[in-house]
């Protein structure tokens, strides 16, 4: 049973509809036919009443005057041989003593015979007649008998003179009823031929948007659809329309959440790497300090031959380089430094100038820092420096780089753009990772360090493409305006 209910609504809806149509058609037809049957039976009773009414006077007269022939002729005129005007198979007039006075079928009901003696049915009929009070026509249905009997007392001046019995076969309405039933059936079939296909199309039509929605939602589980659904949008504002609306909303929110998750993952990854790097750096720094001190001791307290001198120098330079690299890895948040001022920005401008000239890069400089800012100068200088060097590097010979430093009430904004080599999606996502593959020169740590500094200062850094340029934006929040 459950399997039936598990069917797709593209079948269920039309099936339900079809079931309803069928049930309605059948029940209405059945009711109509039942009514028709009753009507036909009622019809016969009315005919019996009409006949009785028409002949009662004549029959009363005939009974009074003992005029058998007159009664017989009257009955014959209402009988079956007059071209089917009445349905009565036999008409019989019974006198007061229960004897047959006249009958249209004398062979079955001979004159002067006792009605009760003619057979079981007739005996029962006679008993019913005796009981019958009142003047109307009454149907007497004696179940096993093939006939229905319509019994009318013939009364004149309040005196019961006799009884008229009109008999009709039980099945006499059958031909008419059969014909009516066939018509009804044909009509019903015609209606079904129209309604059932219409119902099928209606069901499909109603189911279609739900099927679309269900399909789209089941695909949600596997992957987020990258492009909004381009199938015919559902235009109406009913419940299904609301479902669609909510679905699209959900889609957007899922996309936003995925982006956020990506960001978090990225951030976590970088932070993890940062912690690892810091740990390693500390491990290296300790023996490194010792080694450098040892080298110093050698230099200071020993007389070295030229070969040893050169070797020691080599050692010293190498160790110094290691210290530099390790130092770059370790970002120390020395908040107790000087506050950032416009002079720091100018310094950075000067520092990058040689490099800019070397590569004949056109640098657009815009410094709108109004005054000192409560941010550590050395860290911000490092950030600015890294970004500019990066940009210069990326832009290639003769390229364009622009740099804006601005102040808003609650943050400092740095905007560095460069044209030239663009980064693809893959590179963009891995931009701030240490030893980034997007760096062609240097040790690939610059942006990573920058990222770490910005995170430590509680700011945001983002890289994107705009107007064909690669753009880095940094926002560093400031607590209050330094005076």
């Amino acid at each position: 049973m459950k399997r039936v209910f598990d069917l797709s609504i593209r079948y269920k809806l039309p099936l339900w509809g079809a079931a309803l149509v069928l049930a309605t058609t059948i029940s209405v037809s059945a009711m109509l036919m039942h009514d028709a049957w009753d009507e036909m039976r009622e019809d016969t009773l009315l005919t019996a009443k009409a006949v009785a009414h028409a002949v009662t006077g004549t029959l009363a007269d005939a009974l009074l005057r003992d005029d058998v022939w007159r009664a017989y002729e009257t009955l014959i005129a209402q009988g079956p041989d007059v071209g089917g005007a009445t349905p009565f198979d036999m008409l019989m007039l019974v006198d007061r003593t229960g004897r047959v006075f006249a009958s249209t079928r004398p062979q079955r009901a001979p004159l002067a015979s006792e009605l009760a003696a003619l057979g079981d049915t007739q005996a029962a009929l006679a008993a019913q007649i005796d009981e019958q009070a009142g003047e109307g026509t009454r149907l007497v249905d004696l179940a096993p008998s093939d006939d229905l009997h319509y019994v009318t007392p013939i009364v004149q001046d309040g005196v019961r003179l006799g009884t008229l019995i009109a008999s009709v076969p039980r099945t006499h309405v059958l031909p008419r009823f059969r014909s009516l039933a066939l018509h009804s059936l044909a009509g019903a079939l015609l209606v079904l031929c129209v309604l059932l296909p219409a119902n099928w199309f209606w069901g499909r039509y109603m189911a279609r948007p739900l099927l679309q929605l269900s399909d789209a939602m089941s695909r949600l589980g596997r992957r987020l659809p990258a492009v909004p659904e381009t199938e015919a949008p559902y235009r109406y504002a009913d419940e299904i329309g609301r479902l669609f609306h909510v679905y699209h909303q959900m889609l957007r929110e899922l996309e936003a959440r995925e982006a956020l998750e990506r960001e978090i993952v990225k951030s976590e990854r970088l932070a993890a790497v940062g912690r690892l790097a810091a740990g390693i750096a500390h491990e290296i720094n300790n023996p490194l300090g010792g080694m450098l001190a040892a080298v110093d001791t050698l230099r200071c307290h020993a007389v070295l031959d030229p070969l040893t001198e050169r070797t020691v120098s080599l050692l010293e330079r190498g160790l110094a380089q290691i210290r530099e690299t390790v130092g770059a890895l370790l970002v120390q948040s020395r908040v107790r430094g000087d506050a950032l001022s416009p002079r720091d920005v100018d310094d950075v401008h000067l520092l990058v100038a040689p490099r800019v000239q070397d590569k004949r890069v056109r640098l657009a400089w815009h410094d709108a820092l109004p005054g000192a800012v409560a941010l550590p100068a050395n860290l911000v200088r490092q950030v600015l420096m890294n970004l500019l060097l990066n940009a210069v590097e990326a832009t290639g010979t003769g390229g364009h780089v622009s740099c804006r430093v601005e102040r808003s009430p609650d943050a400092v904004h740095i905007d560095v753009r460069n044209d030239g080599r663009t980064l693809d999606e893959e590179q963009m996502t891995r931009l701030f990772e240490p030893f980034s593959p997007s760096s062609s020169s240097g040790h690939g740590l610059g942006l990573w360090v920058t990222y770490q500094i910005v995170q430590q200062l509680g700011g945001r850094i983002a890289a994107d493409r705009v107007d064909g340029l690669t753009r880095f934006r940094v926002e560093l929040p400031v607590q209050e305006m330094a005076t």
Binding site: D66, D67, V68, W69, R70, Y72, A102, S103, P106, Q107, P110, L111, A112
Partner: protein, 292 residues
């Protein structure tokens, strides 16, 4: 005139008018004399109003008189009309004639001839499948259909036959009824409403000729002795001249093309001048039976 006479006259006039309603004669400006009023008892078995109308017109032409034709529902009515002088002539059954003649209310004008004879018989008819009945005495406790209470063949004769056989006609049968006419008796027997009935041979012959399907269901079981055929009679209201004229016209019908055609339509060969002694046996029977 005083109101009683006027109302009597108007009643008579109304009665006559109702009588002539079925056969209103065309008014001929030349005829100022009163029309001849003629009645037709329910004697003629075949209901052929066209033939009756033709006969009336024929008589009108031959008699140069207007003829008012009327039909009565039963013999009694015919007799009453003749007695009351509300009818001049009538073609009546034998018994009514005998009865009226005995009392001087009617005199014989002409007797029809059928199948070459001026006589008739009473026939006992039963259903064709009843092969055992040979006479009325075989019909004890059965249903019997008479035709008219004043019919010789249809009632009086069978009852007399029973009496002669030692039975009481009122108790012999299970049930009897009057069917009203010979045709109805035959229909009743054919339908099975009655087991047997009595009609006259004239009616039987007409039925066989015109309604063979009815005749098929019926068989003649017994024939009575002959008596005179139903005559045309003149009531007291008819003058001798008129009676003679009618007699002449009737007798001359067989010599006339139109007359012969009408006679044939009624199953007759012609009319002859009636002889009273042809009806003697019937008169005797009536006297014996003391009926009605």
């Amino acid at each position: 005139m005083d109101p009683d006479r006027r109302s009597a006259l108007s009643r008579t006039g109304a009665f006559l008018w109702s009588l002539s309603a079925a056969a209103a004669p065309p008014v001929r400006a030349a005829e100022e004399r009163a029309p001849l009023r003629m009645g037709l008892a329910s004697l003629v078995p075949s209901e052929r109003p066209a033939d009756a109308g033709a006969w009336r017109e024929y008589l009108e032409t031959r008699l140069a008189r207007r003829v008012q034709w009327s039909r009565q529902a039963n013999y009694r009515e015919t007799m009453d009309l003749l007695k009351a002088r509300q009818m001049d002539f009538a073609w009546v059954a034998v018994l009514p004639y005998v009865y009226l003649a005995r009392r001087g209310y009617a005199r014989l004008v002409a007797t029809p001839v059928h199948a070459g004879r001026a006589t008739d018989q009473a026939l006992l008819v039963v259903r064709a499948d009843d092969e055992s009945t040979a006479g009325i005495a075989d019909l004890h406790d059965r249903i019997f259909a008479y035709s008219d209470p004043y019919s010789l063949s249809g009632a009086v004769l069978p009852r007399e036959a029973l009496r002669r056989a030692g039975h009481d006609p009122d108790r012999f049968f299970r049930r009897t009824f009057y069917a009203g006419s010979d045709r109805s008796v035959l229909a009743a027997v054919a339908a099975g409403l009655a087991d047997a009935g009595s009609v006259n041979a004239f009616a039987w012959d007409a039925l066989v000729a015109h309604r063979p399907e009815l005749a098929r269901g019926v068989r003649v079981a017994w024939r009575s002795p002959e008596f005179g055929l139903a005559p045309v009679v003149a009531g007291r209201a008819a003058s001798e001249t008129d009676a003679l004229a009618l007699q002449h016209a009737l007798v001359g019908m067989r010599d006339d093309v139109e007359g012969a055609r009408i006679l044939a339509a009624f199953g007759l060969d012609g009319f002859v001048v009636g002889q009273a002694d042809w009806y003697a046996s019937a008169a005797a029977l009536v006297r014996e039976a003391n009926e009605p």
